[in-house]
């Protein structure tokens, strides 16, 4: 009985260790691939809140992608600041992406009066696509691209509009 117990403990330990090592290496590889892919603005089609679909392109202007969730407090503060200080990002394509359903995004736009921000587009993106294409995991996550489509900077977490504007 004791021998069986010892073998069981040993096997449990080895299996857990093997799973963690496998998980770590797999996730690391995926992370590196995503980091490489996001060095230039990936071509990705998203669903606008008015029912249209559009593809993310730089179109000769800097692009700011903000991934968010309507329920997240940091994202709500970010939206409030964006509405007040949007002039600093006037020269950029501004796209707010979220995995939340379109009705929730429409409510968010109304609550934070984002419809008044010129050039801002709000879109729904599938959570898996968001993760696989841009590596979005937590919110808010901000990706800033130069006019030629190369990555300027990535900010994870709440970021002031001034800091984003400096990286355009």
């Amino acid at each position: 009985m004791r021998t069986y117990l010892k073998w069981a403990i040993l096997m449990a330990f080895l299996c857990t260790l093997a799973y963690l090592v496998w998980g770590f290496t797999t996730k690391l590889e995926r992370k590196k691939a995503i980091a490489k892919r996001t060095q230039t603005l990936p071509s990705c089609t998203v669903q606008g809140i008015s029912g249209d679909t559009f593809t993310l392109t730089s179109a000769g202007k800097p692009t700011v992608l903000i991934y968010f969730e309507p329920d997240c407090e940091h994202c709500q503060r970010e939206a409030r600041e964006l509405r007040n200080e949007y002039a600093a990002l006037a020269e950029a394509n501004l796209v707010l992406l979220s995995a939340a359903p379109v009705p929730a995004l429409k409510t968010f736009v109304q609550t934070y009066q984002l419809a008044s921000v010129p050039g801002l587009r709000m879109a729904h993106i599938d959570r898996q696509v968001a993760h696989d294409t841009f590596g979005f995991v937590s919110v808010p996550d901000v990706l800033i691209y130069h006019a030629d489509g190369t990555l300027s900077h990535r900010f994870k977490g709440e970021t002031s509009i001034t800091a984003i504007a400096k990286r355009l």
Partner: protein
């Protein structure tokens, strides 16, 4: 294991009935004192402003500072629970190693060893406090988070190290080596065996647990960042 050694265990358990409680209290008091001193002395409002002002606005920083002040008591509440959990896990590892070697399960004597050895790991905390108080008085939040005296991380520029390697490089430090020896000495005394034998048991039991823990932290770092 012969009867003489087993009687030695019983003696240890009886003798240490109250001492474990006192040691635990002293250990937690010292940990809490250092944590409190660190929070009050090292984490100033100015530090937050200097470090975060490039990324977030003045109002947002003030909000973070306010939240930190309001919820700091929780960390003092969690610390003793966390310490108790840590001692329990380390003792379980050693007890399991002992069970594998001698087919007997003993927890209490090893629990005392784990608490006593933990005093070694209070030293880097104290060094950190004194270092930023008297030597490197100009520091950032990042410096505070990454500093671990006499660790392998000191050989690298923090900006050049991948985030998932920070923790393993911090764990590989001379105090950890001293901690292993403290554990081995205590285990050897409990077992009434040589230091070499105690070190072997610590390496096989606590060492395996530590490897699993470090890999888990690396896995979580890659998954959540």
């Amino acid at each position: 294991m012969n009867n003489r050694k087993f009687d030695h265990f019983k003696y240890l358990i009886r003798r240490d009935k109250y001492k474990i409680g006192y040691l635990l209290l002293i250990n937690m008091f010292l940990s809490l004192s250092m944590s409190f001193a660190g929070q009050k002395i090292l984490f100033s409002d100015e530090l937050f402003f200097n470090d975060l002002s490039e990324k977030i606005s003045y109002d947002q920083i003030q909000e973070i500072i306010q939240l930190t002040h309001n919820w700091s008591w929780i960390s003092y509440l969690i610390l003793p629970i966390f310490s108790l959990l840590k001692f329990t896990i380390i003792t379980s590892c050693i007890s399991l190693g002992f069970y594998f070697a001698f087919d007997k399960w003993h927890f209490k004597p090893f629990f005392k060893v784990a608490i006593l050895a933990e005093f070694v790991l209070l030293v880097p905390g104290l060094i950190k406090l004194l270092w930023f108080l008297f030597i490197q008085t100009d520091y950032t939040l990042n410096d505070l988070q990454l500093f671990y005296p006499l660790s392998l991380l000191n050989l690298f520029e923090p900006g050049t190290v991948e985030p998932y390697l920070l923790y393993p490089l911090q764990v590989l430090n001379l105090f950890e080596v001293a901690y292993w020896f403290a554990l081995a000495y205590g285990v050897a005394r409990v077992m009434n065996a040589s230091l070499e034998r105690g070190f072997g048991l610590v390496m096989a039991s606590y060492g395996s647990g530590l490897v699993l823990w470090v890999v888990l932290v690396m896995f979580l770092t890659v998954s959540l960042s």
